[in-house]
């Protein structure tokens, strides 16, 4: 037995030496950029990026893009941090919009502003983005650091057939939402699914934005977590499962949300626009999409408000100026209206450039599936995604606090919020 295995092993070793030792032959005069991206959807982004890279190299024959998949957003960030500490790392990467300050503070990225200033059409280029998406690209002085790329926002999905059957209008504020959910709840169906496991801060910040008390202001050294909006939002969520009985108690699954919705086990779902394409594919009923109505009714009767989310393009400081210039060309290419439109059509992210929505690709898409327009139009009510100094730490504090309260683990809400706020303040004071 051992001998036979040894034969196999010897052959494998020979093969392995051949593969491992085969030298990479670099072409002279070309710049090769390492482009790292995380994947958060099963759309085969690798293949799409490789296609884009081939198109790009046709226009820029001296630049080659090495497309490198790096796991989830978290894996990607951990890898980049580890590699940067050893003087390695990518030239350009997609990272979370919320990672901005960690990298600015560390001095490991270069501001996009310098390239914008150097381009003739720089100002027009920046104006072309949705304002809501640029909020997470700038520091407190208004300097631009990152370019919006694969962006998203949470929206309300509803089973339009059920709403029509029950004669219920699409809810526009939190009271209407609770009432609609109550009317739609039956023996074997919940009224609403609000996912709160994992990283609840993102979805939850809709309460703060709708309440006019966003967790972060224009400056990054202050975080307002212990607010009336937070407390009332938490109470509202607890009431949804307790008093109204339209939602199960405990932390509800994020990942299973779309399946629970498309299989008819909830009438409404709060989820990211990133899952829109999938939900449209899988649902056997008419899918409606609307703005998140988590706020109390305002003057016009609506209570809209939502954060933005997703990834931006970052250029790194330890690349040579030539590589950085080449990386900027690649960033410009990826943020062109045509590529943004194509990317939206193939993944479901929201094209971050306004003119992308005028391309044939997206005009046709919106015509066929008007649901895609809700996401775009909600941007008018969208606030900045959570960004602050010590962003990861502060988010961890907030996530743990929200999650313990929603799961029923902690019942004294004011005390928990106060303790969390104190931890956040001491972090920011460091």
């Amino acid at each position: 037995m051992i001998r036979r295995i040894q034969h196999v092993m010897f052959l494998s070793l020979v093969l392995f030496v051949l593969v491992a030792v085969a030298p990479a032959i670099a072409q002279e005069g070309t710049i090769t950029l390492d482009f790292y991206f995380p994947e958060a959807s099963a759309n085969n982004a690798q293949a799409i990026f490789e296609e884009y890279a081939a198109m790009f190299s046709e226009q820029h024959p001296n630049i080659q893009i090495n497309v490198v998949y790096q796991g989830s957003y978290t894996d990607n960030r951990t890898i980049i941090q580890s590699q940067l500490a050893a003087g390695e790392g990518p030239d350009v990467a997609v990272m979370l919009a919320t990672d901005l300050l960690s990298f600015i503070e560390a001095g490991t990225i270069v501001p996009a502003q310098q390239f914008v200033d150097a381009s003739e059409d720089g100002e027009a280029y920046v104006d072309g983005f949705f304002d809501a998406f640029l909020l997470n690209s700038m520091d407190e002085n208004g300097q631009l650091w990152a370019i919006p790329f694969q962006r998203s926002t949470p929206i309300l999905y509803y089973n339009a057939d059920l709403l029509a059957e029950a004669g219920i209008a699409v809810p526009t504020n939190r009271d209407e939402l609770a009432a609609a959910a109550q009317a739609l709840t039956t023996e074997d169906r919940w009224g609403l699914w609000y996912p709160s496991e994992g990283f609840p801060i993102w979805m939850f910040s809709a309460f703060n934005i709708a309440g006019g008390e966003p967790m972060v202001g224009d400056a990054f050294d202050q975080v307002f977590f212990n607010t009336e909006s937070t407390a009332s939002g938490l109470q509202y969520l607890l009431d949804l499962s307790g008093e109204y009985g339209v939602m199960p108690a405990g932390a509800l699954s994020w990942g299973d949300g779309p399946t629970i919705f498309t299989s008819g086990q909830t009438a409404m779902l709060a989820h990211t626009t990133g899952s829109l394409t999938r939900i449209l594919n899988e649902a056997t009923f008419t899918v409606g999409t609307a703005f998140l109505p988590f706020g109390a009714a305002g003057e016009d009767g609506t209570g809209y408000g939502a954060p933005t989310g997703g990834g931006n393009l970052y250029i790194f400081a330890n690349s040579t100026p030539e590589e950085q210039a080449a990386a900027w060309e690649w960033v410009r290419f990826l943020s062109s209206p045509e590529i943004q439109a194509d990317w939206t059509a193939r993944t479901g992210y929201i094209a971050s450039v306004e003119s992308a929505w005028e391309t044939d690709t997206l005009v046709q898409l919106v015509e066929a599936y008007p649901q895609y327009a809700s996401a775009r139009d909600q941007l008018a009510f969208a606030g900045k995604e959570f960004t602050a100094f010590r962003s990861i730490d502060v988010q961890n504090v907030i996530n743990t606090t929200l999650s313990s309260i929603i799961a029923g683990e902690v019942t004294d809400i004011p005390a928990a919020l106060e303790a969390a706020q104190a931890q956040i303040d001491s972090l920011l004071a460091e």
Partner: protein
């Protein structure tokens, strides 16, 4: 004289090569251990005494043991959570080992008989450890999924309420323990099986002739002879239990409210912020110390018993 020493010559009379032999034999292993474990561990101990500056290019600040003290400060952003995470980790280690290891021994005894289609039996217990952890975790994510999971579907068919396994703070750690027991028991079974096969059959035949009951054979024959195997399994069992990460990432992210968070995943949650690296290193060292205590306790217990037995 230690029974394990083959060469009875005194050290002085040994030729140089014979004296160097053990070091030469362990050298390749230790080069690797030095490069990838010992050197970075010393680095981690060093770094655990420092705190990174706000800017990456500035030197870190020496803070002595402050990082360690902060881990136990309830008002600290990491310390406020670390106590619970540490408690979970210890509970998790004790329960996965206390359930998994006896179960593995039981499986090994069940399969240490003449059975038809032995391949099938072995496979059915061992396959969970062949699965990639992220794949296995996803299977359990599907089983435990609220509303649309297998457990929910079965419970509903039986007319019962479904249970939000992973969203209920009181159930979630048990769900993770079940998964770990399921995935590791097959591993441990193999070692017990190898150990059982090593016990000479004539010992049992002799015991039979002496009229020893099955229970007596198990307690006085099997268990003592499996002592070293048990030591090994317990040691790796604790080490593996303390290194659970992927299950948490795929299933709960440590939640709700840190009720399923374990040290290594907690480290992973905080490693993304460069300025936490002092704490991350301090937690790594504490984790190592925790495993060290368990290992040394295991060895002390089993090896000492071992020497008595050898006499």
């Amino acid at each position: 004289m230690d029974a394990a020493v083959p060469v009875k010559n005194t050290r002085l009379r040994k030729p140089l090569l014979a004296r160097l032999a053990p070091y030469l034999l362990i050298a390749p292993t230790f080069v690797i251990i030095f490069l990838f474990t010992l050197k970075p561990t010393v680095g981690a101990i060093h770094d655990s005494l420092f705190r990174p500056a706000r800017l990456a290019q500035d030197p870190s600040v020496y803070v002595g043991l402050e990082n360690y003290f902060d881990l136990f400060d309830p008002m600290h952003h990491i310390g406020g959570r670390f106590g619970r995470v540490l408690g979970n980790t210890i509970l998790f280690g004790i329960f996965t080992v206390a359930i998994g290891v006896p179960l593995a021994l039981m499986f090994a005894m069940l399969l240490n008989r003449r059975l038809r289609v032995m391949g099938f039996w072995r496979f059915s217990f061992v396959y969970p450890s062949l699965l990639p952890v992220i794949g296995a975790a996803s299977i359990w994510a599907f089983i435990f999924a609220d509303q649309v999971g297998l457990a929910a579907a079965v419970l509903r068919m039986l007319g019962w309420e479904d249970v939000n396994w992973l969203g209920n703070p009181n159930l979630v750690l048990w769900a993770i323990i079940i998964i770990n027991v399921w995935s590791q028991t097959g591993y441990y079974m193999l070692f017990f099986l190898a150990g059982l096969q090593g016990i000479p059959r004539d010992l049992y035949e002799a015991a039979d002739l002496d009229g020893a009951s099955a229970r007596q054979q198990f307690v006085y024959l099997t268990l003592p002879l499996l002592r070293r195997t048990t030591l090994f399994v317990l040691t790796i069992g604790f080490a593996f239990a303390f290194q659970t990460v992927d299950q948490l990432q795929a299933l709960t992210d440590g939640g709700p409210g840190d009720r399923s968070n374990l040290i290594l995943y907690f480290i992973y949650q905080n490693i993304g912020e460069r300025r936490n690296w002092g704490y991350v290193n301090a937690m790594t060292i504490l984790l190592a110390v925790l495993v060290l205590i368990v290992t040394v306790a295991n060895f002390a217990f089993f090896e000492r018993g071992g020497r008595e037995h050898d006499r």
